[in-house]
Amino acid sequence: MLAKLMMLDLRFAYRQFLTMAALLLVIGLAVPYMDVNILRLGVPILLAVAFTIIPVLCITLVIRHFQRNLYGDEGYLMFTLPVGTNQLLLSKVITTLIWFNLMLCSAIVFVFLLLRDQFGIWELVKELLTWDILRKLLHILFIININVLPFILAVFMGISLQSMAVRNRKLGRFWGIAAMLVAIALFVWTTVRLAGWQYLEITVGDQAIISASMAASEKINIAICAAFSAIFFGLNSYIMQRRLNLD
């Protein structure tokens, strides 16, 4: 059932996400062939599109889908499907991570394409295609994903909280956004306080100490992300199971 839900969630905006990813690649490919005068004017705009407008569009799409699909009219279908609320939520989280990774990869490729005259891109690709490098890249991707997860769940939790205010939706929206911001701030503060400070000590100079410190920080960081994700997921799930109030 989870796979079926994910297919449904993926289909809602695959055209928009694929178009945005393709747009990034096309811009990245086209830039070196542009006239210098156009470039002077165009590059800041292109970078603004790539790193501001597209991420904002992606976030808006994900939020709108979550809100409409669960707490709008479509909720009357989604909550009457014979699936558990955890599966409904998990499907949304996994598909959001899929879109995030697609856009992240597109952005990285975009940067490589922009800088392709600075270094031999094929040589770089060949160098990256070693098992050791790929393993490290996957590890970095995992760390990025696990750090993004609490943000996604905090946003979803804020939207779910909004639905609880049945008598005053505007007030509910205010409390939902406030709770989301507090949750995100708490997560960031905890991460910086408990894991981040160790990164700041990397000025010591002793490689062994640096490695040990970073490894410890990473484990703490993963533990914090996992703990916050579990709390936010649990609260979301509680609202959907015990406090659901569809309009």
Binding site: F79, T80, L244, N245
Partner: protein, 233 residues
Amino acid sequence: MSEVLLEIKNVTKRYGKQVALQNVSFDVAPGRIVGLLGPNGSGKTTLIKIINNLLADYEGEVYLCGHAPGVETKKLVSYLPDKMALPTWLAVTEALNLYANFFADFDRARAENLLHSLKVPPGKKIGELSKGMQEKLMLTLTMARRAKLYVLDEPIAGVDPAARDLIISTIIDNFADGSSLLISTHIISDVEAVFDDVIFLKEGAVDLQGEAEALRSQHGKSIDQLFREVYRC
């Protein structure tokens, strides 16, 4: 009534200080067509949402075939909401696929026949259909399931009088043998002939309930006349 399909016991629902349902209790036996009657704001939709697990925060007990509302009951209830619940970016045939994927009791051949008889164009996107066509599609998907209980929320409210008969006959001809039908409506005259039992809701409480025929002979009035009398302003 030897067995009970749907059991509602002392259900109360509050929205803040406002009471939407107050101590509502009734049973629905298998094979019965039950009219849930009441004017707008009487609590019909709230009760239907509770049966379908769309409202979780209530007092009292609800059981369907012995299960409290949840994943198990969703397999047994076919629900027609009073809103367009399907994603409008889906095509009609994709909506059929969606129901076939999620509901084991969905009869695709029956759905296709219903689409044909109700003249719903299968190739179009739902968002491109008129409101009337969208309602017919929702009705098709609901009635093409072989469910234990069909819950229809105001199925004829937005339909013109000419199409009402078609909607009602589609409902009556297609609900599975041995299953029950709970129809909420405030338009009684067109549907009263099909009711086995009726429940009158007034200001969130059950005002009158019983077998439709017994109520008719007891009061010497049709259900429609009785409704007008109960809800006279």
